[in-house]
């Protein structure tokens, strides 16, 4: 971006997979349920109803904060955030304003540090469905615990954003606090995008002296791929405006997947006045250090990947793939430990057992849907040298040559790679019950 430096910050919302609501005991996560069947006076905003916070939701927010290396505030509270919209039953959202649960964290990716500004807890709104002249409202989702993660505007390109979001997604799922499913809306991402004009001075100093005077928020992005597209489009759009000597309007824009463009939502340009004040219905929360310490964070994907590379000597790429889903990494390690302990006497014909198993999994040679013992059985099968049935092999070879005369001739005429085709055919006929080396050797003999 010649002469311009992108300044991108992210706001991510994660729906927690608690059983019941942030402030009531209605079941949450009932995606696809009949409308308004998981509601109560609290999440419907009936007169006289009162919120009581969900302990686990608070715990899980602390967990997320810790996983992102944040400082956990020992004193925290909820605040009311006021605005009018039909999906907001009370006319305010219970959220957190100036004393959020976690602040000041970071995620390090490929040597780059991306700072986390804050992590806080709030409640989700109901859902609107537009149908002709009507706007229909379903409050099942109202009151679902929602964690908001806000980064500092540390990103200057869309690739980093995509990688960061993918890593965050993996971390959240590893913590087992949310399905983080973008299709179901349990993870939502909103980039805030602006461009800094890099004049001579700022290029020399390259310091964050001042942030741009505007920022554009983009909503409604449903996948990591689309986030990248939206950012790339937006940066171009803003660049053109700035090059004309104008300033892009500070606004919220939507994203059109089909056209891969952002569009103005023409919402009010005035800054929201949320009139935050402390939620009087919920006493503030005070945590002891012991309590914070008791909330443990499992080995995070980044750490696990590092361990796989360093202690198991796996290829970095493979370690990365294996650690994207905690259950896959767990499965992998269980297989390894079982093989090492109970089958150490077997000659498994390999130097790096871990890499071998990793290959089987990644190449899908053996399915990880299998129960662990079955997986191990198959591994042993594949690795134990097979005794080839010479008679069966001989008739298979004869068959294959008979049916593929042309190819056999090509080989005889010097086309060496024709052999591999024939080998493959023989292996097929032998239904894998032949060692490749043996097949090659017999075939070449016979073809001579």
């Amino acid at each position: 971006m010649d002469g311009f430096k992108p300044v991108i910050g992210l706001e991510i919302h994660v729906e927690l997979k608690t059983e019941t609501g942030m402030f009531c005991q209605c079941k949450v996560g009932q995606f696809g349920a009949e409308p308004n069947t998981h509601v109560c006076p609290v999440c419907l905003g009936l007169p006289g109803a009162l919120p009581v916070p969900n302990k686990k939701a608070i715990e899980w927010t602390i967990k997320i904060g810790k996983a992102l290396n944040c400082r956990i505030n020992l004193h925290t509270k909820f605040d009311r955030k006021h605005y009018s919209y039909p999906d907001l039953p009370k006319g305010y959202q219970i959220s957190q304003y100036d004393e959020p649960i976690a602040v000041g964290g970071q995620v390090i990716l490929n040597g780059k540090t991306f700072r986390i500004h804050r992590v806080h807890l709030e409640e989700d709104t109901g859902k609107l469905i537009h149908l002709g002249e009507d706007t229909l409202v379903d409050f099942n989702r109202s009151g679902t615990p929602l964690v908001e993660i806000v980064t500092e505007p540390d990103f200057d390109n869309s690739d980093d954003v995509k990688k960061f979001l993918e890593e965050l997604h993996t971390i959240i799922r590893c913590l087992d606090v949310s399905d983080a499913d973008m299709d179901k809306g349990s993870m939502r991402m909103e980039p805030n995008i602006s461009l800094r004009i890099m004049n001579h001075e700022s290029r020399i100093k390259n310091k964050e002296i001042k942030l741009p005077k505007y920022k554009v928020e983009v909503k409604n992005i449903n996948s990591f791929k689309f986030v990248k597209q939206a950012i790339d489009y937006e940066l171009e759009r803003q660049k053109e405006i700035l090059e004309r000597g104008e300033t892009p309007v500070q606004e919220t824009r939507g994203f059109d997947e089909k056209k891969a463009i952002t569009y103005s939502q023409r919402s009010k340009e005035e800054a929201h006045d949320y009139r935050y004040f402390p939620e009087p219905d919920i006493p503030p929360l005070t945590f002891s250090n012991e309590y914070i310490d008791s909330i443990t964070v499992p080995e995070l994907p980044g750490q696990r990947m590092k361990r796989f590379v360093e202690t198991m000597h796996l290829k970095e790429q493979d370690a990365f793939i294996l650690t994207r889903e905690k259950q896959n990494a767990d499965y992998f390690e269980t297989v390894i430990s079982k093989l090492k302990s109970s089958h150490s006497n077997l000659n498994l014909k390999t130097q790096n057992l871990e890499q071998l198993i990793a290959n089987f999994i990644i190449n899908k040679k053996i399915s990880i849907d299998l129960p662990i013992d079955e997986f191990i059985k198959k591994t042993i099968e594949l690795q134990t040298p097979k005794e080839t049935d010479e008679n069966a092999l001989r008739s298979a070879i004869d068959n294959v040559i008979k049916n593929n005369q042309k190819v056999a001739d090509q080989y005889r005429q010097g086309k060496t790679n024709a052999l591999m085709f024939l080998v493959g055919q023989v292996m097929k006929e032998m239904k894998g019950k032949a060692e490749a080396k043996v097949v090659i050797s017999r075939l070449t003999e016979i073809l001579k």
Partner: protein
Amino acid sequence: MAKKNILTKENIIHLAKLSNLQLTDEEINKYLDQLEQTVEFIKNLDELDTTGVTPTSQTTNQSNATYEDGEINEQGLSSQEALKNAKNKKNNYFNVKRIM
């Protein structure tokens, strides 16, 4: 020190918008006076020294009132009960005029 503000009609209209209220011209003018009077109430708070005082949001020192996730929902409503008082509904949804 509280600042004395001269509120304008635009300010009142803005506040009415935030409050989601439709006001008549008469009401707008009335509020122009009344809101200024709010400042009067603050004046005598200037007589109190509140430096270093922590604000009270909870007069009886409650804290850490939470509930355990997964508790049985004693307050749950059927969709019928939930929609009973709504004047506009459709197929078990609440219905509002189309939002642009």
